[in-house]
Amino acid sequence: MLSLPKHSLPLLSLLRRVRVASTTLFKANHLLTHSVNQLANHSANQSVSQSPVLKTQGLMNKVTASVLTKKKMSPGQQENRTRKPSVELQGVNKYYDDCHALKDINLTINHGEFISFLGPSGCGKTTLLRTIAGLEDSSDGIIYLSGKNVTNKPARQRNFGIVFQSYALFPNLTVEENIGYALKSKGQSKKTIKERVNELIELVGLAKLNDRFPSQLSGGQQQRVALARALAPNPKLLLLDEPLSALDAKVRHTLRSELKQLQQKTGITTIMVTHDQEEALAISDRIAVLKFGEIEQIGTPDEIYSTPATEFVAEFVGTINKMTLPHDGQSYIVRPEWMELFNSPNENRIPGIIQDVEYHGASTRVTLDLDHSEISSKPVVLDIPTPHVKKMQFSMSQVAWLEVTHLDMCSSSIC
């Protein structure tokens, strides 16, 4: 492999782009491909670039292969196949006129990973998703999908499937026609398409609804059709833009675990945008918490919940109490479920008056106004298992004592 001086890199990128363009325009690229491929093998991690024609063939082969062999790759298998991450963002910025919507985003997502973008409305999570998809242009920075620089490429030249909040099903096509939409336009045989569509219908759990129209389906069913449609062309990346927020609470719970199972079965890298922290915590491998266009923290759900990196993350995900604990006088973040409430005092317990008792079914949220305001300036919120509350007969304006039972989990990093 050639090793070339660094300043020839932009020239090579340009050459590569010219070649792609000329292929599209003139469809005569043998000599050019060969020589550029020689030049292009300049980096240890670069694979041989393929012309668009070969790429399409490669994709079709994959679809056919998966239909015929029903091969499902586990996340581990996929990851071993290639060393490049599925998605990589470097220094991505986006401006809308004066608004700095995305600020210097650096992000690496590995193959087979399920990552959620979590944050309040207007924090840029959907903008980030759309920028990765190519539906929005980034103002600055580089975006790599499976190792290829796609920064300036439009969405149709990137490899992903997307499910929108509104599903955007084609209302005038049946379930079957919707799911097979991408496959039909690739000119595959009817039999192949039908087999693949049926495979997907079974995968998402929509049996016997082939000939229905979207208007005849429930929200949850429409959601599944949208998912199947996005997965039909075997994309390398699945993007979900608040896929569950239009559904009822009960349906949401069922569907989100199905979503996770589906993702594990297919092993496809998935990015989900959501404002529902419970959802993010339940099914993500990792969560990226965003605020005002910046990533506040990326980590596993437990890392985000138990060891929040910033005050914002701590307050956004779950509820926190900021307390100065008497045993060492340090400030801590204490979650409501890390404490217990008692009827009687002892040296470890902190007294207070019960301000509010809120019944949540399985647990009860008790708000305790502490006697010693130096421990916590605001009333402390505790989540107590309801049977315990009933047993202790806690009620309003009663005196009670709290004890921090999971001291090891409390973090002081951000106080």
Partner: protein, 574 residues
């Protein structure tokens, strides 16, 4: 990572633009850009350049020499000509007031009462839309003219003049106002009325505090539309205007009568001013108009009231009687062998071959022209509206296409026709070949009626889910495939609506075509004009009735076809 080296961190502006451009040089982008360019070029060639040509000719004399404002000075210093300006404005004012008042009350009857026979009245109210504007003038002649049936009952000296024009043009503009005001009234939220009632307001107070303010934008819009129609109409004033000169007839006289094209251009520009002003007013209204209907709104259900319903019934019956009287007199007079001497009925007047005017060929030509306008116009409108709404490239070009598509509403038909003579009748213009053919008639009709079609299509596109194109991109399906498989079927009802609108208007219009027809492309509406000019009023009525029946027939067939088709293809609407 070896690709995190510095070259990418500081790309020069030129190379990043080039990169971006080359990356988007795939088939789809090229098609999209061509699409936008073609739409823009078509609009420039059929609207902007001709109007520019008109402007140039207004500052030239008959020999083509530049004379600056001399023509305008000439015009303004000639009281006979400038008198037309005040006449036109006066006509506009009176006719608009009458039309809007009648239309408002009728619309109120349709939307705020439980009157019996609404469907029938609605059907009758839309009859004038299917007629050439001349028809009402001709009918008036037979009712109240010198040989008219009820000539003693006409309250004015003669029908030829302002009163005649007012009657004729009000008849014709009535349905336009009715549609706009009905829509505005229908869109009012019932909960406002409920609130008003609960707070103790009586019906009169509710009317002035809820109903009127609620539809004020609809009223303003209707006023603007009717005023433009009245002021730019040519047919009624020509037939029944008598000595009352208006700008529209002046243009015609200058061009056809005196062959003074430059002066014709001058008067056209003068006429453009009120049309442009009312157009701007309407644009302002569209911006201000927010639908008061949200997802929680309720449609208004009128309460029972016999008194109110009786009044409504009487009023609508009167209006219907007038409309039916006009149309049936036109029909009757066309069948009368020789008015007023031989009142026996025959088809004499339908033997167009015997008269100068165009014969049956004119009628066939009109059908061909209307059909062509429908096909060309609907296709172009669909594609250019799609480009405006759904193609994401070149926002400035898209905006230009949209603006150019809306401008024809401000251009009177005569003005457009004259500008086409100037632009297309030049030997050094390669497009000269279409002059004198059906094509130029079709094109001018499409452009003349472009705005309503364009807005209808744009509205239909706006109602589609806007994520269909991104989904198509993510599935790597070319946008034009999705256009055919999804977008077209979804907007099918709107497409049909635009089609029928173009056909009916192309069939009945006079002003857009009166300067552009040739010996080979004589049209029915122009034949009506010519026959009336020649004194063959009864044959003129006959041809006008033929136009009416054709428009009516096509509309009925169309309704049946669309009913059947939409039932079959739109079953998915659920």
């Amino acid at each position: 990572m070896s690709y995190t080296t510095s070259p990418q961190s500081a790309p020069t502006k030129a190379s990043s633009w080039l990169n971006h451009f080359l990356n988007t040089l795939d088939k789809e982008s090229v098609i999209k850009r061509l699409w936008l360019l073609i739409a823009l070029c078509v609009l420039l060639t059929t609207l902007v350049f001709p109007l520019y040509s008109l402007l140039i000719h207004s500052v030239q004399d008959s020999d083509g020499q530049f004379v600056g404002a001399a023509n305008f000075v000439n015009y303004l210093s000639n009281p006979a000509l400038t008198y037309s300006i005040t006449n036109t404005l006066y006509l506009g004012l009176i006719a608009t007031v009458i039309t809007i008042s009648l239309a408002f009350v009728t619309a109120w009857c349709f939307t705020r009462t439980n009157m019996f026979g609404k469907t029938l009245f609605k059907g009758i109210a839309y009859i004038p839309l299917l007629t050439p504007s001349l028809l009402s003038a001709i009918s008036l002649i037979y009712w109240f003219g010198n040989q008219g049936v009820l000539k003693e009952f006409w309250p004015f000296e003669t029908i030829y003049g302002l009163p005649g024009i007012v009657f004729g043009i009000s008849f014709w503009a009535f349905p336009h106002a009715l549609i706009i005001i009905s829509t505005a009234l229908r869109q009012q939220d019932a909960r406002l009325y409920e609130a008003s009632e609960v707070l103790g307001a009586g019906p009169i107070r509710t009317f002035f505090t809820v109903t009127l303010p609620g539809c004020k934008y609809g009223l303003i819009s209707a006023t603007a539309v009717v005023f433009t129609l009245v002021v730019t109409d040519f047919g009624v004033a020509k037939v029944i205007g008598g000595q009352y000169n208006v700008l529209a007839t002046d243009i015609y006289k200058q061009v056809i009568g005196q062959q003074n094209f430059s002066m014709g251009a001058v008067v056209s520009l003068v006429l453009l001013i009120p049309a442009l002003l009312t157009f701007l007013v309407d644009q302002w209204v569209q911006k201000k108009q927010q639908s008061s209907f949200d997802s929680k709104s309720l449609a208004y259900q009128p309460k029972a009231s016999k008194v109110r319903d009786s009044f409504a019934l009487v009023f609508c019956s009167l209006i219907s009687v007038i409309i039916l009287a006009v149309i049936s007199m036109a029909g009757y007079s066309s069948l009368v062998t020789f008015w007023p001497y031989d009142l026996s009925l025959s088809f004499n007047n339908y033997q167009f071959e015997m008269m100068d005017g165009g014969g049956w060929e004119a009628y066939i030509n009109s059908l061909i022209m209307a059909a062509g306008t429908m096909v060309i116009g609907t296709s172009f409108i669909f594609l250019s509206a799609y480009a405006c709404q759904k193609i994401e490239l070149w926002p400035s070009v898209r905006k230009a296409i949209h603006i150019l598509s809306v401008i024809p509403a401000a251009v009177p038909g005569l003005v457009l026709g004259l500008s086409y003579i100037f632009f297309f009748n030049q030997p050094n213009n390669p497009l000269n070949i279409i002059y004198g053919t059906f094509l130029i008639l079709m094109i001018s009709s499409v452009v003349h009626f472009l705005t309503v079609g364009h807005l209808t299509m744009v509205t239909a596109f706006k109602q589609l889910p806007n994520e269909i194109e991104p989904v198509s991109e993510s599935l790597k399906v070319p946008f034009y495939v999705t256009l055919g498989r999804v977008t077209l079927p979804m907007t099918f009802p709107a497409i049909l609506e635009v089609g029928i609108y173009l056909f009916v208007n192309a069939m009945t219009t006079v002003s857009a075509v009166v300067f552009l027809y040739s010996v080979d492309t004589m049209l029915a509406s122009v034949a009506v004009l010519n026959m009336d000019d020649a004194g063959d009023t009864a044959p003129a009525a006959a041809m006008a009735m033929l136009i009416f029946f054709s428009a009516l027939g096509v509309k009925l067939v169309y309704s049946l076809v669309t009913y059947g088709l939409t039932k079959k293809t739109q079953a998915w609407r659920g």
